[in-house]
Amino acid sequence: MKKLLPLFYLIALAYGCQDEINSDDLQVRPYIDGIEVISDASVLSDRFHERNENVSVRGLQSGRVETAYQLTLVSEIDPPKIRNEQTMATSVDIADGLIAVSYNYIGEDFRGGVDLISRNGETLSLVSQLAYDRSDISMVFLSDQSIYYAGGSPDSDSVAFADAIALTNTTPDLSQLTRRSVGGHLATCVAKSSNQLFIT
């Protein structure tokens, strides 16, 4: 069921830039070196762990477990290793039936990615992964059967960029990847309104 009055969510760094871009101006790049889509379930399952464990809420005043809350840790997903280095989860978005997680790398080098997790009833599955050999991904959101994410890459014209990829079912279609490079060291947030993208 589509949520008709969504929460609005943006993140900004202490220092950043803001660009408003008509999404119609985005250039389609059928192929960008260093991006891989992984949808092999046997590969992805190594990182996906079903838990189904109760999660307690510890009362701040009482110090005891508060039982008024019913929480269950359904699953955990290890951050992907890119070029044998562990990345870290930077942001997460939830839309109908889909959860997207972005990853970056701490250090001078650039590497990152995006996970897509499907939700069918109470069943969660890691269905595909975008692996970026030479890009940090700071933030991701889902909209209109596409994923949008902000990041940085030395391969970009000016390091900071925002990408959009259409999804075929739950798999990113690299032939439909569009990229907009923006000024700055690292794009940290991207949001969409009608046909405008806002990038910080």
Partner: protein, 489 residues
């Protein structure tokens, strides 16, 4: 971001800039406190007309979207030496999730009659979180991006049939219509309702509004639906709405009814009771205004609650004598007011882990005598998951004489932390062993009738006071239980 506005949070100085996306003009710049840490990330969310900002070391600041006014600051708890830093927040309904360091804190929000209260009530215990970068809640799921710890996906609420809720509107079901999904001409204005929570109407505009919300239930359980609504317009005009329940998994409507207002006085709110059976564990309630001619007519929806029968998950022996702290047994004697020649003996006899003996003797007849035992519970026992109407204190009791009264007192903290003594009495007009079940609802507190939600109470101690007039006798209390469901036979 919505169709007309983009909200951009920046730091040093903290500012939330509201941009009209049609002409890119700046509509407002709201000064935000706490965003002065260089290079740090802070997130915010907008919910129900309020801006919730994860404001670093200052915790959470809450502002009003319309005016930019600062309404409330909710500080983070003492980090035990570590400086906690709030960097992300997600809010839906009256619950928020605040990421700070390695923890996610639960923020309870209460709005009534224009007043706003919010406090951090607890933290999620998920072990080593690493460093949380973002939390995001939607449709019953909380997703946590926890740095090197990867991603945690948490279901809020439990659709498992073995554990359910009483009043759905208390758990994951937001009764404030402003938090619901809606489309078309739906106008939410609390001033229209007879409660401050919500109202929706088509106003004098074309009425095409639809309002709905996702919620969990136990598949197969009976759902009781109570709608409070009213009409505006002469009572011979057609004013009505349609209520539908939808299987979230299949999008099939499995229940539909018309909320009719014919014959009702304009502006007078009234209740409509409906019932159906949940066809799955995830449902969606949708209400559509059917009032075709809007001239002078409105359908007002004031409140709705959906409840389900709650499966009893604990039948017996939630508490038993052996759960009590043996070392904290205290025997308190009382006697005549003059306190001179009354001898009272109280004995814990037999297997002390199971039996109370209450025995008093009186050298002066016709005086009130008795004995008073209190036992504290080692680890306080939370009365969880059931409603007041089906909680019973059960005792196997043997009294060797009649004409006595057994006072049963349990001390508990209620949901707001207030310490109270809950008291009930048993008339000992019997000989021999009997089972006694005392509904918790029949207990009286020191401030009036039982008026707390037992599902949020913590049982701290049990006291038994035996009182009689002038006759020495013994009362044995064995096998004390706290149970739910039907009382013991």
């Amino acid at each position: 971001m919505d169709d007309n506005f983009a909200y951009v949070l920046s730091a040093n100085p903290g500012t939330l800039t509201v941009i009209n996306t049609n002409d890119f003009s700046v509509q407002n710049e709201i000064s935000i406190s706490g965003l002065d840490s260089e290079g740090a990330k802070s997130g915010f969310t907008i919910s129900d007309g309020l801006i919730y900002v994860a404001s670093g070391y200052e915790g959470v600041h809450i502002y009003e979207v319309a005016t930019g006014s600062h309404l409330l600051n909710v500080p983070l708890p003492d980090g035990g030496g570590a400086d906690l830093f709030a960097n992300s927040i997600s809010v839906e309904g009256n619950i928020g999730y605040v990421a700070a360091g390695e923890s996610v804190y639960l923020l309870e929000i209460e709005r009534s009659a224009g007043a706003l209260e919010a406090s951090l009530v607890g933290s999620l215990e998920l072990g080593d979180f690493q460093s949380i970068n973002e939390v995001n809640y939607q449709n019953g799921y909380l997703a946590i991006a926890s740095g090197l710890g990867g991603t945690k996906l948490i279901r809020i609420g439990n659709p498992d049939a073995s554990v359910g809720y009483g009043l759905l509107s208390n758990e994951g079901f937001d009764h404030r219509f402003a938090a619901w999904d809606y489309e078309g001409n739906v106008h939410v204005d609390p001033s229209w309702g007879n409660e401050t929570s919500a109202a929706f109407s088509g106003g004098n505009k074309a009425v095409t509004g639809v309002i709905g919300q996702h919620f969990y239930a136990n598949s197969g359980s009976n759902l009781n639906i109570l709608v409070n609504c009213a009409r505006r317009g002469a009572n011979n005009l057609f004013v009505a709405a349609k209520i539908e329940l939808i299987n979230h998994h299949t999008n099939e409507v499995f229940f539909t009814d018309t909320l009719k207002t014919e014959g009702r006085v304009s502006g007078d709110f009234f209740d409509i009771s409906l019932s159906t059976t949940a066809v799955s564990d995830e449902l969606y309630v949708r209400i559509t205004d059917l009032t075709e001619n809007t001239n002078g007519r409105d359908f007002y929806l004031n409140s709705i609650s959906i409840t389900q029968a709650r499966p009893v998950t604990v039948s017996r022996k939630v508490v038993k004598i052996s759960d009590f702290e043996e070392s904290n047994v205290s025997n308190i004697w009382f006697g005549r007011n003059d306190g001179t020649d009354t001898e009272i003996n109280g004995v814990v006899g037999g297997d002390t882990s199971k039996v109370y003996h209450l025995k008093g003797t009186d050298r002066n007849e016709n005086k009130v005598i008795g004995s008073f035992f209190t036992r504290k519970i080692d680890n306080s026992i939370v009365l969880e998951g059931f409603s007041a109407s089906d909680v019973y204190l059960n005792f196997d009791i043997k009294a060797e004489a009649t004409n006595g009264i057994l006072y049963v007192i349990f001390q508990a903290k209620d949901e707001d932390g207030t310490l109270r003594n809950w008291v009930n009495t048993v008339d000992l007009t019997f000989d021999g062993q009997e089972n006694i079940s005392l509904p918790v609802t029949d207990f009286r507190s020191n401030v009036g009738n039982f008026n707390a939600d037992p599902s949020r109470m913590t049982l701290l101690s049990l006291s038994l006071r035996h009182q009689t007039a002038g006759i020495a006798h013994e009362v044995i209390v064995d096998n004390f239980y706290l149970s739910t469901g039907t009382p013991l036979d």
